[in-house]
Protein backbone atom coordinates (compact mmCIF):
# COMPACT_ATOMS: atom_id res chain seq x y z
CA UNK A 1 0.00 0.00 0.00
CA UNK A 2 1.38 3.39 -0.94
CA UNK A 3 2.34 5.97 1.63
CA UNK A 4 -0.57 8.01 2.91
CA UNK A 5 -3.24 5.62 1.70
CA UNK A 6 -5.98 5.24 4.32
CA UNK A 7 -7.63 1.86 4.60
CA UNK A 8 -11.14 2.23 6.01
CA UNK A 9 -12.62 -1.16 5.15
CA UNK A 10 -11.70 -3.04 8.31
CA UNK A 11 -15.13 -4.67 8.27
CA UNK A 12 -13.98 -6.64 5.22
CA UNK A 13 -10.38 -7.51 6.15
CA UNK A 14 -7.64 -6.07 8.32
CA UNK A 15 -3.89 -5.70 8.23
CA UNK A 16 -2.15 -8.39 10.25
CA UNK A 17 -0.56 -7.17 13.46
CA UNK A 18 3.21 -7.88 13.55
CA UNK A 19 2.82 -9.26 17.07
CA UNK A 20 0.35 -11.82 15.71
CA UNK A 21 2.78 -12.81 12.99
CA UNK A 22 5.53 -13.08 15.57
CA UNK A 23 3.44 -15.49 17.63
CA UNK A 24 2.63 -17.55 14.52
CA UNK A 25 6.09 -17.75 12.97
CA UNK A 26 7.55 -20.54 15.16
CA UNK A 27 4.66 -22.76 14.11
CA UNK A 28 5.50 -22.27 10.43
CA UNK A 29 9.27 -22.82 10.60
CA UNK A 30 10.06 -24.73 13.78
CA UNK A 31 7.10 -26.47 15.32
CA UNK A 32 5.49 -27.08 11.95
CA UNK A 33 4.27 -30.63 12.53
CA UNK A 34 0.70 -31.77 12.97
CA UNK A 35 -0.61 -31.89 16.52
CA UNK A 36 0.17 -35.48 17.33
CA UNK A 37 -1.07 -37.64 20.15
CA UNK A 38 0.86 -37.38 23.37
CA UNK A 39 2.62 -40.68 22.61
CA UNK A 40 4.67 -39.55 19.64
CA UNK A 41 7.62 -37.27 19.00
CA UNK A 42 8.33 -34.13 20.97
CA UNK A 43 7.78 -31.68 18.09
CA UNK A 44 4.25 -32.99 17.56
CA UNK A 45 3.53 -32.87 21.26
CA UNK A 46 4.72 -29.26 21.38
CA UNK A 47 2.43 -28.47 18.44
CA UNK A 48 -0.50 -30.03 20.27
CA UNK A 49 0.26 -28.05 23.39
CA UNK A 50 0.31 -24.81 21.40
CA UNK A 51 -2.98 -25.66 19.74
CA UNK A 52 -4.63 -26.49 23.07
CA UNK A 53 -3.27 -23.35 24.67
CA UNK A 54 -4.76 -21.28 21.85
CA UNK A 55 -8.03 -23.14 22.31
CA UNK A 56 -8.16 -22.53 26.05
CA UNK A 57 -7.20 -18.85 25.63
CA UNK A 58 -10.00 -18.31 23.14
CA UNK A 59 -12.41 -20.27 25.33
CA UNK A 60 -11.46 -18.15 28.34
CA UNK A 61 -12.08 -14.95 26.36
CA UNK A 62 -15.77 -15.85 26.21
CA UNK A 63 -16.28 -17.78 29.39
CA UNK A 64 -16.39 -21.13 27.60
CA UNK A 65 -14.68 -24.46 28.25
CA UNK A 66 -11.81 -25.48 25.97
CA UNK A 67 -13.69 -28.43 24.54
CA UNK A 68 -16.43 -26.06 23.37
CA UNK A 69 -14.11 -24.40 20.82
CA UNK A 70 -13.73 -26.01 17.39
CA UNK A 71 -11.20 -24.50 15.03
CA UNK A 72 -12.30 -23.97 11.44
CA UNK A 73 -11.01 -22.19 8.35
CA UNK A 74 -12.91 -19.00 9.19
CA UNK A 75 -16.29 -17.46 9.80
CA UNK A 76 -17.79 -18.77 6.59
CA UNK A 77 -17.02 -22.35 7.52
CA UNK A 78 -18.12 -21.90 11.12
CA UNK A 79 -21.51 -20.60 10.02
CA UNK A 80 -21.94 -23.34 7.41
CA UNK A 81 -21.06 -25.93 10.01
CA UNK A 82 -23.62 -24.58 12.47
CA UNK A 83 -26.47 -23.92 10.04
CA UNK A 84 -26.18 -27.25 8.28
CA UNK A 85 -24.91 -29.33 11.18
CA UNK A 86 -27.58 -28.65 13.80
CA UNK A 87 -30.70 -29.32 11.66
CA UNK A 88 -29.05 -32.46 10.30
CA UNK A 89 -28.51 -33.73 13.86
CA UNK A 90 -32.09 -32.84 14.82
CA UNK A 91 -33.79 -34.41 11.79
CA UNK A 92 -36.28 -36.17 14.04
CA UNK A 93 -37.45 -32.94 15.64
CA UNK A 94 -38.47 -31.10 12.50
CA UNK A 95 -37.44 -29.01 9.55
CA UNK A 96 -38.11 -25.41 10.54
CA UNK A 97 -35.47 -22.67 10.82
CA UNK A 98 -35.77 -19.08 12.00
CA UNK A 99 -33.39 -16.32 10.95
CA UNK A 100 -33.35 -12.67 9.88
CA UNK A 101 -33.19 -11.11 6.43
CA UNK A 102 -30.05 -9.18 7.32
CA UNK A 103 -27.64 -12.05 7.96
CA UNK A 104 -24.27 -12.11 6.26
CA UNK A 105 -23.88 -14.37 3.22
CA UNK A 106 -22.53 -17.49 5.00
CA UNK A 107 -25.68 -17.71 7.14
CA UNK A 108 -28.05 -16.32 4.50
CA UNK A 109 -26.96 -18.70 1.76
CA UNK A 110 -26.61 -21.71 4.06
CA UNK A 111 -30.21 -21.21 5.16
CA UNK A 112 -31.28 -20.78 1.52
CA UNK A 113 -29.54 -24.04 0.69
CA UNK A 114 -31.56 -25.80 3.40
CA UNK A 115 -34.70 -24.09 2.11
CA UNK A 116 -34.06 -25.61 -1.32
CA UNK A 117 -33.61 -28.97 0.39
CA UNK A 118 -37.12 -28.81 1.83
CA UNK A 119 -36.71 -26.95 5.11
CA UNK A 120 -39.23 -24.27 6.01
CA UNK A 121 -37.69 -20.94 6.90
CA UNK A 122 -39.16 -18.01 8.77
CA UNK A 123 -37.30 -14.91 7.59
CA UNK A 124 -37.76 -12.32 10.32
CA UNK A 125 -37.99 -8.65 9.46
CA UNK A 126 -36.27 -6.03 11.57
CA UNK A 127 -37.21 -2.43 12.21
CA UNK A 128 -35.80 0.37 10.07
CA UNK A 129 -32.63 0.47 12.20
CA UNK A 130 -32.03 -3.23 11.71
CA UNK A 131 -33.15 -4.25 15.20
CA UNK A 132 -35.12 -7.42 15.71
CA UNK A 133 -38.05 -7.28 18.09
CA UNK A 134 -37.68 -10.22 20.52
CA UNK A 135 -41.46 -10.66 20.38
CA UNK A 136 -41.16 -11.43 16.67
CA UNK A 137 -38.74 -14.24 17.46
CA UNK A 138 -41.03 -15.52 20.20
CA UNK A 139 -43.90 -15.69 17.70
CA UNK A 140 -41.85 -17.44 15.04
CA UNK A 141 -40.68 -20.43 17.09
CA UNK A 142 -42.70 -23.61 16.44
CA UNK A 143 -42.60 -27.11 17.90
CA UNK A 144 -40.64 -28.27 14.85
CA UNK A 145 -38.09 -25.41 14.97
CA UNK A 146 -34.62 -26.94 14.98
CA UNK A 147 -32.46 -23.84 14.79
CA UNK A 148 -32.57 -20.09 15.27
CA UNK A 149 -29.71 -18.06 13.78
CA UNK A 150 -29.44 -14.35 14.57
CA UNK A 151 -26.32 -12.29 14.10
CA UNK A 152 -24.74 -10.46 17.04
CA UNK A 153 -24.13 -7.41 14.84
CA UNK A 154 -24.70 -6.58 11.23
CA UNK A 155 -21.81 -6.68 8.77
CA UNK A 156 -22.86 -3.59 6.83
CA UNK A 157 -24.77 -1.25 9.12
CA UNK A 158 -23.28 -2.35 12.45
CA UNK A 159 -26.60 -2.75 14.27
CA UNK A 160 -26.31 -4.80 17.44
CA UNK A 161 -29.08 -7.21 18.35
CA UNK A 162 -30.30 -7.67 21.89
CA UNK A 163 -28.71 -11.09 22.02
CA UNK A 164 -29.41 -11.60 25.72
CA UNK A 165 -33.16 -11.17 25.24
CA UNK A 166 -33.19 -13.35 22.11
CA UNK A 167 -31.12 -16.06 23.79
CA UNK A 168 -33.44 -16.10 26.81
CA UNK A 169 -36.40 -16.75 24.53
CA UNK A 170 -34.63 -19.60 22.75
CA UNK A 171 -33.60 -21.14 26.04
CA UNK A 172 -37.11 -20.94 27.46
CA UNK A 173 -38.50 -22.55 24.31
CA UNK A 174 -35.78 -25.22 24.16
CA UNK A 175 -34.53 -24.17 20.74
CA UNK A 176 -30.89 -24.13 19.64
CA UNK A 177 -29.55 -20.61 18.97
CA UNK A 178 -26.62 -19.83 16.69
CA UNK A 179 -25.18 -16.34 16.38
CA UNK A 180 -22.63 -14.96 13.94
CA UNK A 181 -20.38 -12.85 16.15
CA UNK A 182 -17.83 -12.04 13.45
CA UNK A 183 -18.41 -8.30 13.78
CA UNK A 184 -18.44 -8.05 17.58
CA UNK A 185 -15.92 -10.61 18.83
CA UNK A 186 -13.61 -9.87 20.55
CA UNK A 187 -14.20 -6.10 20.64
CA UNK A 188 -17.44 -6.32 22.60
CA UNK A 189 -17.90 -8.42 25.74
CA UNK A 190 -19.31 -11.88 25.12
CA UNK A 191 -19.76 -14.33 27.97
CA UNK A 192 -21.45 -17.64 27.33
CA UNK A 193 -21.66 -18.38 31.05
CA UNK A 194 -24.38 -15.74 31.30
CA UNK A 195 -25.55 -15.57 27.66
CA UNK A 196 -27.46 -18.71 26.71
CA UNK A 197 -26.36 -18.91 23.09
CA UNK A 198 -25.52 -22.42 21.86
CA UNK A 199 -23.24 -21.78 18.89
CA UNK A 200 -21.13 -18.79 17.91
CA UNK A 201 -19.27 -18.01 14.72
CA UNK A 202 -15.93 -16.48 15.66
CA UNK A 203 -12.85 -15.20 13.85
CA UNK A 204 -10.19 -12.54 14.28
CA UNK A 205 -9.47 -11.53 10.70
CA UNK A 206 -11.36 -8.27 11.36
CA UNK A 207 -9.20 -7.48 14.41
CA UNK A 208 -5.77 -7.89 12.81
CA UNK A 209 -5.59 -11.66 13.21
CA UNK A 210 -4.84 -14.10 10.39
CA UNK A 211 -7.21 -15.02 7.58
CA UNK A 212 -7.98 -18.68 6.99
CA UNK A 213 -8.73 -19.52 10.60
CA UNK A 214 -11.81 -19.17 12.75
CA UNK A 215 -13.73 -21.04 15.41
CA UNK A 216 -17.13 -22.34 16.24
CA UNK A 217 -18.21 -22.15 19.84
CA UNK A 218 -20.38 -25.20 20.49
CA UNK A 219 -22.05 -25.37 23.88
CA UNK A 220 -21.58 -28.76 25.52
CA UNK A 221 -24.48 -31.04 24.69
CA UNK A 222 -25.59 -29.15 21.56
CA UNK A 223 -26.32 -31.64 18.79
CA UNK A 224 -24.14 -31.17 15.71
CA UNK A 225 -23.66 -33.46 12.75
CA UNK A 226 -20.06 -34.21 11.85
CA UNK A 227 -19.04 -31.56 9.37
CA UNK A 228 -15.89 -32.79 7.69
CA UNK A 229 -14.97 -36.42 7.26
CA UNK A 230 -11.36 -37.46 7.52
CA UNK A 231 -9.22 -37.92 10.59
CA UNK A 232 -10.38 -37.42 14.15
CA UNK A 233 -9.30 -33.82 14.64
CA UNK A 234 -11.37 -31.20 16.45
CA UNK A 235 -13.35 -33.63 18.61
CA UNK A 236 -14.13 -35.75 15.56
CA UNK A 237 -16.39 -32.99 14.19
CA UNK A 238 -14.11 -31.18 11.78
CA UNK A 239 -11.39 -33.30 10.19
CA UNK A 240 -8.23 -31.90 8.64
CA UNK A 241 -4.69 -31.06 9.71
CA UNK A 242 -4.90 -28.37 12.32
CA UNK A 243 -3.90 -24.83 11.33
CA UNK A 244 -1.76 -24.44 14.41
CA UNK A 245 -0.06 -21.20 13.36
CA UNK A 246 -3.52 -19.84 12.56
CA UNK A 247 -4.99 -20.89 15.89
CA UNK A 248 -2.05 -19.39 17.77
CA UNK A 249 -2.40 -16.19 15.74
CA UNK A 250 -6.11 -16.03 16.47
CA UNK A 251 -5.52 -16.37 20.22
CA UNK A 252 -2.85 -13.66 20.08
CA UNK A 253 -5.16 -11.34 18.12
CA UNK A 254 -7.84 -11.73 20.79
CA UNK A 255 -5.33 -10.89 23.49
CA UNK A 256 -4.24 -7.68 21.72
CA UNK A 257 -7.71 -6.11 21.56
CA UNK A 258 -8.19 -3.74 24.49
CA UNK A 259 -11.16 -1.66 25.67
CA UNK A 260 -8.97 1.46 25.33
CA UNK A 261 -8.28 0.73 21.70
CA UNK A 262 -11.95 0.06 21.04
CA UNK A 263 -12.87 3.36 22.69
CA UNK A 264 -10.46 5.15 20.35
CA UNK A 265 -12.01 3.45 17.34
CA UNK A 266 -15.45 4.45 18.55
CA UNK A 267 -14.27 8.07 18.72
CA UNK A 268 -13.26 7.82 15.03
CA UNK A 269 -16.68 6.44 14.21
CA UNK A 270 -18.45 9.24 16.04
CA UNK A 271 -16.31 11.97 14.46
CA UNK A 272 -16.94 10.65 10.93
CA UNK A 273 -20.65 10.19 11.57
CA UNK A 274 -21.07 13.70 12.87
CA UNK A 275 -19.48 15.21 9.76
CA UNK A 276 -21.21 12.92 7.26
CA UNK A 277 -24.69 13.38 8.71
CA UNK A 278 -24.20 17.14 8.38
CA UNK A 279 -24.10 16.71 4.58
CA UNK A 280 -27.56 17.57 3.17
CA UNK A 281 -29.77 14.65 2.06
CA UNK A 282 -27.80 12.07 4.03
CA UNK A 283 -29.26 9.36 6.22
CA UNK A 284 -27.74 7.09 8.84
CA UNK A 285 -28.00 3.38 8.09
CA UNK A 286 -28.28 1.32 11.25
CA UNK A 287 -28.98 2.24 14.85
CA UNK A 288 -27.46 5.36 16.42
CA UNK A 289 -26.42 3.70 19.67
CA UNK A 290 -26.97 -0.06 19.28
CA UNK A 291 -24.01 -0.02 16.94
CA UNK A 292 -20.59 -1.67 16.68
CA UNK A 293 -17.79 0.73 17.65
CA UNK A 294 -16.05 0.50 14.26
CA UNK A 295 -18.97 1.00 11.86
CA UNK A 296 -20.08 4.07 9.90
CA UNK A 297 -22.75 3.61 7.23
CA UNK A 298 -24.46 6.57 5.61
CA UNK A 299 -26.51 6.92 2.42
CA UNK A 300 -26.33 10.00 0.22
CA UNK A 301 -29.19 10.75 -2.12
CA UNK A 302 -28.75 11.36 -5.88
CA UNK A 303 -25.33 9.70 -6.14
CA UNK A 304 -24.09 6.18 -6.75
CA UNK A 305 -21.63 4.36 -4.51
CA UNK A 306 -19.23 2.86 -7.03
CA UNK A 307 -18.41 6.29 -8.41
CA UNK A 308 -17.95 7.51 -4.82
CA UNK A 309 -15.56 4.69 -3.93
CA UNK A 310 -13.50 5.22 -7.09
CA UNK A 311 -13.19 8.95 -6.44
CA UNK A 312 -12.26 8.20 -2.82
CA UNK A 313 -9.68 5.65 -3.98
CA UNK A 314 -8.10 8.33 -6.18
CA UNK A 315 -7.96 10.55 -3.08
CA UNK A 316 -6.29 7.78 -1.08
CA UNK A 317 -9.17 6.28 0.88
CA UNK A 318 -10.43 2.70 0.72
CA UNK A 319 -14.06 2.21 1.70
CA UNK A 320 -17.05 0.20 0.52
CA UNK A 321 -20.62 0.71 -0.64
CA UNK A 322 -23.88 -1.22 -0.82
CA UNK A 323 -24.27 -0.31 -4.49
CA UNK A 324 -25.03 -3.08 -6.95
CA UNK A 325 -22.16 -1.96 -9.17
CA UNK A 326 -19.69 -2.70 -6.37
CA UNK A 327 -21.00 -6.19 -5.63
CA UNK A 328 -19.89 -9.41 -7.25
CA UNK A 329 -23.47 -10.37 -8.00
CA UNK A 330 -24.40 -6.85 -9.19
CA UNK A 331 -27.08 -6.80 -6.53
CA UNK A 332 -27.90 -3.94 -4.22
CA UNK A 333 -27.24 -4.48 -0.52
CA UNK A 334 -29.80 -6.90 0.90
CA UNK A 335 -29.25 -5.23 4.26
CA UNK A 336 -30.30 -1.72 3.18
CA UNK A 337 -33.24 -3.18 1.27
CA UNK A 338 -33.99 -5.38 4.29
CA UNK A 339 -34.36 -2.41 6.64
CA UNK A 340 -36.89 -0.91 4.25
CA UNK A 341 -34.52 1.23 2.20
CA UNK A 342 -35.08 1.57 -1.54
CA UNK A 343 -32.51 0.80 -4.24
CA UNK A 344 -31.37 4.42 -4.41
CA UNK A 345 -30.54 4.33 -0.69
CA UNK A 346 -28.59 1.12 -1.17
CA UNK A 347 -26.72 2.40 -4.23
CA UNK A 348 -25.83 5.62 -2.44
CA UNK A 349 -24.62 3.98 0.77
CA UNK A 350 -21.05 4.22 1.97
CA UNK A 351 -19.47 2.14 4.71
CA UNK A 352 -16.35 3.08 6.66
CA UNK A 353 -14.98 0.61 9.19
CA UNK A 354 -12.12 1.62 11.45
CA UNK A 355 -9.32 -0.45 12.92
CA UNK A 356 -6.10 -0.40 14.93
CA UNK A 357 -4.02 1.38 12.30
CA UNK A 358 -6.42 4.26 11.76
CA UNK A 359 -6.30 7.65 13.42
CA UNK A 360 -8.85 10.32 14.18
CA UNK A 361 -7.34 12.27 11.26
CA UNK A 362 -8.23 9.41 8.93
CA UNK A 363 -11.84 9.66 10.04
CA UNK A 364 -12.16 13.42 9.66
CA UNK A 365 -10.06 13.44 6.47
CA UNK A 366 -12.26 10.79 4.90
CA UNK A 367 -15.40 12.67 5.87
CA UNK A 368 -14.02 15.87 4.32
CA UNK A 369 -13.07 14.06 1.12
CA UNK A 370 -16.49 12.41 0.98
CA UNK A 371 -18.24 15.75 1.30
CA UNK A 372 -16.26 17.05 -1.68
CA UNK A 373 -16.84 13.91 -3.80
CA UNK A 374 -20.56 13.88 -3.11
CA UNK A 375 -20.90 17.53 -4.06
CA UNK A 376 -19.03 16.82 -7.28
CA UNK A 377 -21.17 13.81 -8.20
CA UNK A 378 -24.38 15.61 -7.31
CA UNK A 379 -23.36 18.38 -9.71
CA UNK A 380 -23.43 15.91 -12.62
CA UNK A 381 -26.46 13.92 -11.46
CA UNK A 382 -29.85 14.33 -13.16
CA UNK A 383 -31.47 13.76 -9.77
CA UNK A 384 -32.30 16.18 -7.00
CA UNK A 385 -32.29 19.35 -9.05
CA UNK A 386 -35.93 20.21 -9.71
Amino acid sequence: MSEGYRYLDNGAATRLDERVLEAMTPFLFETYTVATSQFSYSLGIAAREALERARSDIAASLGAASEEIIFTSGSTESSNMAIKGVPHALANKGKHIVTTRLEDFPVLNSVKALERDGYTVTWLDTDSDGRLDPAALEGAIRPDTVLVSIQAANQEIGTLQDLAALAAICKARGVVLHSDATHTYPRLPLDVSSLSVDLLTLSTELVHGPKGVGALYLRKGTPLHKWMDGGFQEFNLRAGSENIAGAVGMARAVELVTPEETAGIQAMRDAALEQLLAIPQSILNGHATWRTPQNVNVSFRFVEGEAITLHMDLRGYALSTGSACFSRALEASHVILGIGGDHERAHGSVRLTFGRYNTLDDATGAANALAEVIERLRAISPLGKD
Partner: protein
Protein backbone atom coordinates in the same frame (compact mmCIF):
# COMPACT_ATOMS: atom_id res chain seq x y z
CA UNK B 1 -1.78 1.58 -7.90
CA UNK B 2 -3.90 -0.74 -10.07
CA UNK B 3 -7.19 0.74 -11.21
CA UNK B 4 -10.19 -1.20 -12.40
CA UNK B 5 -10.56 0.76 -15.63
CA UNK B 6 -8.52 1.78 -18.67
CA UNK B 7 -6.74 5.13 -18.64
CA UNK B 8 -9.32 6.56 -21.02
CA UNK B 9 -12.20 5.51 -18.79
CA UNK B 10 -10.47 7.07 -15.81
CA UNK B 11 -9.84 10.27 -17.78
CA UNK B 12 -13.51 10.57 -18.80
CA UNK B 13 -14.68 9.60 -15.31
CA UNK B 14 -12.62 12.33 -13.70
CA UNK B 15 -13.21 14.96 -16.37
CA UNK B 16 -16.45 14.11 -18.10
CA UNK B 17 -17.10 16.04 -21.33
CA UNK B 18 -20.42 17.66 -22.25
CA UNK B 19 -21.72 17.43 -18.70
CA UNK B 20 -24.81 19.36 -17.67
CA UNK B 21 -28.09 20.47 -19.23
CA UNK B 22 -29.21 22.42 -22.29
CA UNK B 23 -31.88 25.03 -21.58
CA UNK B 24 -34.99 24.43 -23.68
CA UNK B 25 -33.43 21.50 -25.52
CA UNK B 26 -34.81 20.38 -28.87
CA UNK B 27 -35.03 16.90 -27.42
CA UNK B 28 -34.20 15.05 -24.23
CA UNK B 29 -34.49 11.57 -22.75
CA UNK B 30 -33.84 9.77 -19.52
CA UNK B 31 -32.85 6.12 -19.51
CA UNK B 32 -32.52 3.87 -16.47
CA UNK B 33 -33.68 4.73 -12.98
CA UNK B 34 -32.28 5.14 -9.49
CA UNK B 35 -33.74 1.70 -8.76
CA UNK B 36 -31.56 -0.03 -11.33
CA UNK B 37 -28.51 1.86 -10.14
CA UNK B 38 -27.76 3.77 -13.32
CA UNK B 39 -29.52 6.66 -14.93
CA UNK B 40 -28.56 8.89 -17.83
CA UNK B 41 -30.22 12.07 -19.06
CA UNK B 42 -29.33 13.26 -22.59
CA UNK B 43 -30.16 16.72 -23.98
CA UNK B 44 -29.93 17.64 -27.68
CA UNK B 45 -29.76 20.77 -29.76
CA UNK B 46 -30.51 19.87 -33.39
CA UNK B 47 -30.16 21.92 -36.56
CA UNK B 48 -33.59 21.61 -38.10
CA UNK B 49 -32.34 22.03 -41.68
CA UNK B 50 -29.48 19.56 -41.67
CA UNK B 51 -30.77 17.32 -38.89
CA UNK B 52 -27.35 17.58 -37.29
CA UNK B 53 -26.60 17.48 -33.56
CA UNK B 54 -25.08 20.87 -32.88
CA UNK B 55 -24.92 20.52 -29.11
CA UNK B 56 -25.34 17.63 -26.71
CA UNK B 57 -25.12 17.37 -22.95
CA UNK B 58 -25.66 14.63 -20.43
CA UNK B 59 -26.09 14.02 -16.72
CA UNK B 60 -25.31 10.77 -14.96
CA UNK B 61 -26.40 9.06 -11.82
CA UNK B 62 -24.26 5.98 -11.93
CA UNK B 63 -20.95 4.23 -11.66
CA UNK B 64 -17.68 5.24 -13.27
CA UNK B 65 -18.31 3.36 -16.51
CA UNK B 66 -21.72 5.01 -16.83
CA UNK B 67 -20.18 8.47 -16.42
CA UNK B 68 -17.31 7.70 -18.81
CA UNK B 69 -19.63 6.24 -21.45
CA UNK B 70 -21.95 9.25 -21.25
CA UNK B 71 -18.90 11.41 -21.83
CA UNK B 72 -17.58 9.46 -24.81
CA UNK B 73 -20.96 8.89 -26.45
CA UNK B 74 -21.72 12.62 -26.42
CA UNK B 75 -18.28 13.27 -27.91
CA UNK B 76 -18.98 10.72 -30.65
CA UNK B 77 -22.43 12.11 -31.42
CA UNK B 78 -21.59 15.82 -31.50
CA UNK B 79 -21.70 17.19 -35.05
CA UNK B 80 -23.19 13.98 -36.45
CA UNK B 81 -26.50 13.72 -38.28
CA UNK B 82 -29.33 12.09 -36.36
CA UNK B 83 -29.08 8.97 -38.50
CA UNK B 84 -25.33 8.72 -37.97
CA UNK B 85 -25.71 9.25 -34.23
CA UNK B 86 -28.44 6.66 -34.02
CA UNK B 87 -26.11 4.08 -35.53
CA UNK B 88 -23.47 4.47 -32.82
CA UNK B 89 -23.24 1.18 -30.93
CA UNK B 90 -22.12 0.38 -27.42
CA UNK B 91 -19.24 -1.60 -28.90
CA UNK B 92 -18.02 1.61 -30.54
CA UNK B 93 -18.41 3.50 -27.28
CA UNK B 94 -16.54 0.77 -25.41
CA UNK B 95 -13.77 0.66 -28.05
CA UNK B 96 -13.41 4.43 -27.91
CA UNK B 97 -12.84 4.08 -24.16
CA UNK B 98 -10.15 1.46 -24.58
CA UNK B 99 -12.55 -1.29 -23.49
CA UNK B 100 -14.73 -1.75 -20.43
CA UNK B 101 -14.68 -4.63 -17.95
CA UNK B 102 -17.23 -7.25 -19.18
CA UNK B 103 -19.24 -6.89 -15.98
CA UNK B 104 -19.75 -3.19 -16.73
CA UNK B 105 -20.97 -3.32 -20.33
CA UNK B 106 -24.60 -2.85 -19.35
CA UNK B 107 -23.67 0.65 -18.17
CA UNK B 108 -22.40 1.62 -21.61
CA UNK B 109 -25.52 0.16 -23.18
CA UNK B 110 -27.59 2.48 -21.02
CA UNK B 111 -25.74 5.59 -22.19
CA UNK B 112 -26.14 4.52 -25.82
CA UNK B 113 -29.83 3.97 -25.24
CA UNK B 114 -30.06 7.41 -23.67
CA UNK B 115 -28.69 8.93 -26.86
CA UNK B 116 -31.04 6.89 -29.07
CA UNK B 117 -34.02 7.74 -26.89
CA UNK B 118 -33.21 11.45 -27.13
CA UNK B 119 -33.02 11.16 -30.92
CA UNK B 120 -36.31 9.28 -30.93
CA UNK B 121 -37.79 12.02 -28.76
CA UNK B 122 -36.74 14.54 -31.43
CA UNK B 123 -38.16 12.42 -34.23
CA UNK B 124 -41.46 11.99 -32.42
CA UNK B 125 -41.73 15.73 -31.80
CA UNK B 126 -41.09 16.43 -35.46
CA UNK B 127 -43.37 13.71 -36.82
CA UNK B 128 -40.49 11.68 -38.18
CA UNK B 129 -41.52 8.29 -36.73
CA UNK B 130 -44.41 5.94 -36.82
CA UNK B 131 -46.09 4.53 -33.73
CA UNK B 132 -44.32 2.07 -31.49
CA UNK B 133 -44.47 -1.38 -33.04
CA UNK B 134 -46.43 -4.14 -31.30
CA UNK B 135 -44.47 -6.36 -28.93
CA UNK B 136 -43.88 -9.64 -30.73
CA UNK B 137 -41.42 -12.42 -29.92
CA UNK B 138 -39.06 -10.90 -32.48
CA UNK B 139 -39.28 -7.48 -30.80
CA UNK B 140 -38.59 -9.10 -27.42
CA UNK B 141 -35.57 -10.85 -28.91
CA UNK B 142 -34.26 -7.52 -30.21
CA UNK B 143 -34.72 -5.89 -26.81
CA UNK B 144 -32.89 -8.77 -25.13
CA UNK B 145 -29.88 -8.04 -27.36
CA UNK B 146 -29.41 -5.11 -24.96
CA UNK B 147 -29.40 -7.23 -21.81
CA UNK B 148 -25.88 -8.18 -20.88
CA UNK B 149 -24.54 -11.42 -19.54
CA UNK B 150 -22.20 -9.91 -16.94
CA UNK B 151 -20.00 -13.01 -16.91
CA UNK B 152 -18.66 -12.25 -20.37
CA UNK B 153 -19.87 -8.76 -21.26
CA UNK B 154 -21.87 -9.90 -24.28
CA UNK B 155 -25.63 -9.89 -24.60
CA UNK B 156 -27.76 -12.80 -23.48
CA UNK B 157 -28.96 -13.59 -27.01
CA UNK B 158 -25.47 -13.83 -28.41
CA UNK B 159 -24.30 -15.95 -25.48
CA UNK B 160 -27.30 -18.26 -26.01
CA UNK B 161 -28.76 -17.86 -22.53
CA UNK B 162 -32.28 -17.40 -23.87
CA UNK B 163 -34.02 -20.73 -24.39
CA UNK B 164 -37.52 -19.58 -25.07
CA UNK B 165 -39.54 -16.42 -25.62
CA UNK B 166 -43.29 -16.28 -25.74
CA UNK B 167 -45.70 -13.36 -25.93
CA UNK B 168 -49.29 -14.10 -25.10
CA UNK B 169 -51.78 -11.25 -25.02
CA UNK B 170 -49.32 -8.88 -23.33
CA UNK B 171 -47.80 -11.50 -21.02
CA UNK B 172 -44.14 -12.01 -21.86
CA UNK B 173 -42.31 -15.15 -20.78
CA UNK B 174 -38.54 -15.49 -21.10
CA UNK B 175 -36.87 -18.78 -20.20
CA UNK B 176 -33.14 -18.68 -19.52
CA UNK B 177 -30.67 -21.53 -19.68
CA UNK B 178 -29.30 -20.64 -16.26
CA UNK B 179 -29.41 -22.01 -12.72
CA UNK B 180 -31.76 -19.95 -10.49
CA UNK B 181 -28.85 -19.79 -8.03
CA UNK B 182 -26.42 -18.39 -10.63
CA UNK B 183 -24.37 -15.42 -9.42
CA UNK B 184 -26.09 -13.06 -11.86
CA UNK B 185 -29.56 -14.65 -11.99
CA UNK B 186 -31.32 -11.84 -10.13
CA UNK B 187 -29.40 -9.15 -11.97
CA UNK B 188 -30.28 -10.56 -15.39
CA UNK B 189 -33.92 -10.99 -14.40
CA UNK B 190 -34.11 -7.34 -13.31
CA UNK B 191 -32.48 -6.14 -16.53
CA UNK B 192 -34.89 -8.14 -18.69
CA UNK B 193 -37.90 -6.85 -16.79
CA UNK B 194 -36.64 -3.30 -17.07
CA UNK B 195 -36.19 -3.59 -20.85
CA UNK B 196 -39.71 -4.88 -21.45
CA UNK B 197 -42.07 -3.79 -18.69
CA UNK B 198 -42.42 -0.21 -19.91
CA UNK B 199 -43.76 -1.12 -23.34
CA UNK B 200 -47.33 0.03 -23.74
CA UNK B 201 -48.74 -3.35 -24.71
CA UNK B 202 -46.84 -5.43 -22.15
CA UNK B 203 -48.89 -6.46 -19.13
CA UNK B 204 -46.46 -8.75 -17.33
CA UNK B 205 -42.90 -10.03 -17.69
CA UNK B 206 -41.93 -13.40 -16.27
CA UNK B 207 -38.37 -14.69 -16.28
CA UNK B 208 -37.81 -18.39 -15.62
CA UNK B 209 -34.57 -20.27 -15.06
CA UNK B 210 -34.23 -23.72 -16.53
CA UNK B 211 -30.69 -25.01 -16.77
CA UNK B 212 -30.23 -27.89 -19.18
Amino acid sequence: MPLPYSELVMEHFQNPQNIGRIDNPDAKAIEGSPACGDMVAVYLRVDEETKTITDIKFESYGCASNIATGSIITELAKGKSLDEAKAITWEQASDALGGLPPIKTHCSVLAVEGLRAAIQNYEEKHGLVREQEATTEEVVRKRLCHVMNPSVGLDIIRTKLVKEISVNDGDVLVVLDLEPTHQFANNIREEITEKLANRQDVRSVEVCFDKQ
